[in-house]
Symmetry: C2
Subunit: 165 residues, 2 copies
Amino acid sequence: MNGDLDHVGRLQAQWARERPDLDTSAMGIIGRLHRLADALHTELRPVFEQAGLSDGDFDVLAALRRAGSPFALTPGQLAETTMITSGTVTKRVDRLAAAGLVTRERVEHDGRVRRIALTEPGRALVDEVVGIHFANEERLLAGFSDLERTRLTHLLTQWTTSLGV
Amino acid sequence: MNGDLDHVGRLQAQWARERPDLDTSAMGIIGRLHRLADALHTELRPVFEQAGLSDGDFDVLAALRRAGSPFALTPGQLAETTMITSGTVTKRVDRLAAAGLVTRERVEHDGRVRRIALTEPGRALVDEVVGIHFANEERLLAGFSDLERTRLTHLLTQWTTSLGV
DNA sequence: GGAATATATCTTCCTCGGCAGATATTGTCT
DNA sequence: AGACAATATCTGCCGAGGAAGATATATTCC
């Protein structure tokens, strides 16, 4: 029994038995969304590991690459666009600089600010990895038709917008 | 410009400018799903913190509660149902036992096995918190109509099933 | 019964990320 | 110019979780 349910479906059935007074329907969406995030993360991470990067470090490289030539941002800008704290920026940049993928320089007109810039090997690496990464994402969506993808994109965008993220 | 786009929409626009050779459409789904997971986590966590629990610790209490009377599982079962490693189980149970919410006992017929059981205060706490938690989840879905919720549930279930999670 | 193997849990070590405060620099106001 | 506030980044500490190995117990095979 319950063999035709996915994991979240089984959780809902258990809660329905133990707490029939509660409405578990939201879990059907939010629980599955979290499991998908975990599963997708597990599927996506190996591409970064193959390149010797953590996914957090890739985020920083990607932010610099997306910014366009000359591929440089301040730690504050990196913290904002990647939604991490300044302390985490420092540590990620430490690792990337040690690997020779970025440089950290002072800027002349404001001594408080640093300029984190992709090195040429860093730019080459992120350009290579991002291609593999996007193809990998495409693979994980292969089960959906174009119409289903459109509907899913619309529903998720509606949700991010309503939550303001 | 780009003021009418959400965060992921801006990322896609940046990538389209920098790497027009790549197909970024998958990011429209996977990127938003990850941002939603983060945002939902942020919204859900305070309920657990209010009860003095981390969300990880709540997972363990919830697994015990869902199991039904007498609300007891082995560390191995907890690791399996909550999808964490055995080392993480040990630490979470350590914390919960120190808080008096669970007990950790030997079982008579197999000396390798332990039996993690909710105490009565533990059962009372999880029963209270789970009600608040489900209502909180419901709140985060308030922007969707019943039809949209049904469609979203179906699409996510299709996806979890195809990924085997 | 004893050795080898299997099982279940715990321990140790490591990385990662966040938070709070420290430091350095710039801007403002008098 | 000097004092004070604002800004930008870095440092030190902490907790969470994973991986790999250690420990304890049980089972199997001879």
